[in-house]
Chain length 257, copies 2
């Protein structure tokens, strides 16, 4: 199967990642299955990071935490998180070092994997309710910004929340709040609606991550906590070592949601 | 103020604990404030226990986790968890060793405190909705049972769930489910309704913890996950050292809920 085909089965998608066949972003594949951001830290820092997630559930809603050294998650029996994502990023001392298609060759018995909810399930429910999402219609990545909202620190981890922004028509804002509020695993209700400057976002057309998206006159910018937050916090905290998914290249679970 | 008076202020109650004036169970005091089960473990086991809570949110809904050595929780500024509970229990190698009125003299820089939701807030909302709860009307402790429901293990922690039981009239069962389901911090919806034998409870009149309570002909036994679970699991797992609250002698937070 080539990279342009759409995978319905999460298991087939993961197998294609493992063989190296599939190396693209996972949005739009395995519809209805929960996809997850991934963060892997050494055991030495795992308590601090788990505590960071517990204290900051909006940016870091936990889907699953694996035991030290474990690679097979309960949310995807038979899978390996060391090979079954389309892309990985390695950070050392908070600096991005390299992007890879597997981390099995780097694997260690002390690595603890965190799977963190992402916004895909919320986006598909918002669209199903008749609320268009421009970045999806334009096949772009969502626009993401670093904010002035301090996360609650935990041990070595501290830093500001990263948010994603979606322009929504005024009449649909309440609907988008209601739908997302019901999905805490997909970051829950927005953290902010309407005023980018109040978040410390100087230029809405210059996101720090992802692609800029136009905001029309009858639209309000809505901001949700974003799963990129732990990557930014790991950088800010100069975490000695971690592995994350590459942007948009999520771990696709078997979970329905 | 003597032990028979009722404290409205959580801060005054905690101060009376600290001075040794108040050493009784906390039920009925500081109405409307969240009370918490407490579990304190050495940092060495804190990741495993935090993971246990994350994997078992029904028995172990986290109100707050303090950093290593910290005694002042964010949910009660000015308080100290080492002195502000009416009673503490010490366990070594899974065995109960002693009950104390403070643990400040045992305190160490590596101790990590977990505050875990309890059923009091759910009970007051159920009563406010017109559903009587017999153990409260009879001023007894709730009946609690060890079950055959295995918790999801995490590191050294494994064991069966402890549940609390409340007899509810058939016409009120759905109402009690709805109210508790909205309160995940108070253990959420019941884990079981109606058949004690299916949980491995041989004799409903012989609870392992708390006091037995009569079940009338038009009543159904409802079972909720219970905050005593981590104490039982610590015993089962022969945890080298931990401190817990004494039964019914909870930490009273400033949180409203």
């Amino acid at each position: 199967m080539d990279n342009l085909s759409r995978f319905d089965s999460p298991e087939q998608l993961r197998r294609a990642c493992r063989s190296g066949e599939f190396t693209l972003p996972t949005a739009g594949h395995a519809a209805g299955r929960i996809q997850a951001n991934m963060m892997i830290v050494p055991k030495e820092h795992a308590f601090d990071f788990l505590l960071f997630c517990q204290r900051n559930p909006k940016p870091c809603p936990l889907v699953e935490v694996l035991g030290p050294g474990e690679v097979e998650p309960a949310c995807a029996p038979g899978a390996s998180i060391a090979t079954d994502l389309p892309g990985y990023r390695i950070y050392r001392d908070g600096e991005f070092v390299e992007e890879r298609v597997e981390v099995a060759s780097l694997w260690r018995g002390d690595l603890v994997t965190f799977l963190i909810g992402c916004s895909f399930s919320f986006e598909s429910q918002v669209q199903a309710a008749g609320v268009p999402l421009r970045h999806i219609d334009q096949r772009r990545n969502v626009a993401m910004y670093r904010t002035n909202i301090a996360c609650t620190p935990a041990g070595i981890f501290s830093g500001e929340m990263v948010v994603s922004m979606r322009p929504v028509k005024s009449r649909d804002v309440a609907k988008a709040v209601e739908i997302s509020a019901r999905l805490p695993i997909a970051h829950g209700a927005p953290v902010h609606i309407g005023n980018p400057a109040a978040l410390g976002v100087a230029d809405i057309m210059r996101p720090e991550y992802g692609d800029a998206v136009e905001i029309l006159d009858d639209e309000v910018p809505m901001f949700w906590a974003c799963g990129v937050t732990p990557q930014w916090v790991a950088q800010r905290s100069k975490l000695p070592f971690c592995i994350t998914h590459a942007p948009g290249k999520m771990f696709v679970t078997d979970l329905v949601g």
